[in-house]
Amino acid sequence: MVTTKEIPLKEYVLKGNAACAGCQDMVALRHAHKALEGDVIQVVPACCTSVVQSLWPKSGLAVPILNTAFMASAATASGVKAALKAKGNDHTMVMVWAGDGGTFDIGLQALSGALERRTDFLYICYNNQVYSNTGTQRSSATPLHAQTTTTWFGKTEPEKMLDMIIAAHEPVYQFTANTSYPRDLFDKFKKAQEFEGPKFGHIFLPCPQAWNYPVEKGVEIGKLGVETGYWIQWERVGDEFTLGKHSKRFQDPEKRKPIDEFLKMQGRFSHLYRPKRNDKKIREIEDFIQHRWDMLIRTFT
């Protein structure tokens, strides 16, 4: 893994942009661009990053950014890639940077199409598990029992296992990452540059607004996501699956931290602890976590 001192100092995320204080999307963007080193065209649909793109006539990001419609990012990227090809440019990376709503929900068809066409691009879903740009409504990435402004008493369904859907399209490279491990994230973007064809990255991204935790706890909560087994770090090159170094020990449920440590930090789960711990609902979350592990290992190994 890259050492901190090996990561380039040049910044592509410009200070003084519109991101909320403590926004983990900015951490992901900083290190993604440090890895890609500027030879990139980034397509951004409606999502928080489109706000960071900022107010005309200024941009908060020092790379070319093409804002596009919510459901159209992968299609737009297909067009950008085709234009580069038509002009004989075979080096510039085309990267979509979309939220979970724009990926799991409204953008899924266009994404499926672009993957199936073997479009040479990198699609990044930064997943904060909610429509945060519109004020935290549930998406199909919102976890079971999480409170949102369209699930006031907690969501009644677990999240869609998007990674399985993506894997069925057989991208050349697929990974999950987590903003609490920026060096690992940096490495994965560097690696993505090596492959020609469709590449997909799924980034777990705590959101202080939607998850309702103290802003300074962004790194801790992301790590707890991994240490409780809730989020799994892995990558897949073709058929070759590797469980991430940070997640390896948590494959064993015995070694996982209690899920309460992750849930209790977040206001969106506070109803599970008031007036007393809701054992049944928390058990359901634990069961889903184990189910996801089982599905992942059974499918990919």
Partner: protein
């Protein structure tokens, strides 16, 4: 230049080659389907040298064109009916981003009342997107109008996308001759596209589509409006040049036939305008001073030309192959509002018919014009609009 025999759809695919389009993204829908089919074939044969993206929906087709055009490529797509409706978000997007995309819309009825034949409801419903709209009457006109449209769209004074409408089946699947130009010939007319303002380029990063507050929003919208309106004078220049280079001229925004001394002028969009010429000839023989104004461009609306025509005639018989539900014939209503402030206001009769591909033959067109003559004689407008061929 070489004469070829082809359907309008096949000719449209040849226009894409002749205009050196760099990216096509399209999705099949009857009756536009053979446009992408032919582009795919020409692509696989190495004749069309650009990229062809076989997208999974019309929404994606338009946004792939938006991505390509934003990266400086000349982009084209073709669709029909519900496909055009699915593109709607992208139509507004392309116009507001000032991207010179060209679209061949093969006019077809909108479902339900499932029907694959011509009605202009699909493109009529897109009049307010900012797209320039042409309606053509022949295979030859479609082929050359597509080539002209790239020049028009890419002109810095315009910088707006163009929709070239051709009637489903009547044109799309009917073989007739057209004069083909090789790309090397078109080069004399159409230089490569160079985006004049912004482009996606890592060497010079800009961000497009940022938030704009009320302080500047109106100004951007006003510049779009000006861009679309500029298409009228710019198209006049383009036609002049095209005629000089290739000897082709289709009549400007309104193709007039025997209008100079006419008492009643028949207006229509699309292929019907060609048949109307024969109806006019017959009426002239019968002693009626009738003229034909084939509306080739309805956005921007050729206001000056309509006013010039309107100052000389007693009435317009304005025919729409589509409806603005609750208000009547879309182009007829545009003509009415164009003439409102004029000193001489001719009678403007609105006719709706030929929907769902119902045939509009020469006798039907004659009947419409004669009905208008009758109204002029009586001085009574009659109904707000007349559903011409409605069965009671």
């Amino acid at each position: 230049m070489k004469t070829e025999l082809m359907s309008a759809n096949y000719a449209a695919s040849r226009a894409v080659v002749s205009a050196r389009v760099e990216v096509v993204a399209a999705y099949p829908i009857t009756p536009a389907t053979t446009v992408p089919e032919q582009i795919a074939l020409l692509n696989e044969q190495g004749i069309y040298k650009g990229q062809f993206i076989r997208v999974e929906s019309e929404h994606s087709a338009m946004f792939a064109c938006i991505g390509a055009s934003s990266t400086g490529a000349r982009a084209f797509t073709a669709t029909s009916s519900n496909g055009l409706l699915l593109m709607d978000e992208g139509l507004h997007w392309a116009a507001a981003a000032r991207l010179p995309i060209v679209l061949n819309n093969v006019n077809r009825s909108v479902s339900p009342s499932w029907n694959i034949h011509v009605t202009h409801d699909d493109s009529y419903s897109k009049r307010d997107t900012g797209w320039i709209q042409f309606y053509v009457a022949s295979v030859d006109e479609l082929y050359h109008t597509i080539i002209q449209s790239f020049k028009l769209a890419e002109d810095e004074r315009v910088l707006m996308p163009v929709m070239v409408n051709s009637d489903g089946f009547v044109l799309s699947h009917t073989v007739s001759p057209y004069d083909h130009l090789e790309p090397e010939e078109v080069d004399k007319f159409l230089p490569p596209y160079t985006p004049p303002h912004w482009v996606m380029d890592p060497e010079n990063p800009v961000s497009h589509g940022n938030i704009v507050f009320p302080e500047h929003y109106s100004e951007f919208r006003n510049m779009m409006h000006e861009g679309t309106k500029n298409a009228l004078p710019v198209y006049t220049e383009i036609e002049k040049e095209y005629k000089k280079l290739f000897g082709k001229y289709f009549g400007g925004p309104i193709d007039c036939y025997k209008c100079d001394d006419a008492d009643v002028v028949f207006t229509s969009q699309g292929s019907m305008g060609a048949e109307a010429k024969d109806a006019i000839d017959e009426l002239r023989e019968e002693g009626y001073k009738a003229g034909n104004a084939r509306m080739r461009m309805i956005r921007p609306f050729p206001v000056d030309k309509i006013r010039e025509l309107g100052s000389k005639v007693k009435a317009f018989a304005s025919f729409d192959r589509g409806v603005s539900y609750g208000f009547g014939g879309p182009v007829a209503n545009d003509i009415r509002s164009t003439m409102y402030h004029m000193k001489h206001r001719p009678m403007i009769k609105s006719y709706i018919g030929g929907l769902g591909g119902r045939d509009m033959a020469i006798p039907d067109i004659k009947a419409v014009i004669l009905d208008t003559f009758k109204a002029v004689e009586s001085g009574e407008l009659g109904p707000e609009e007349t559903w011409n061929d409605l069965k009671d």
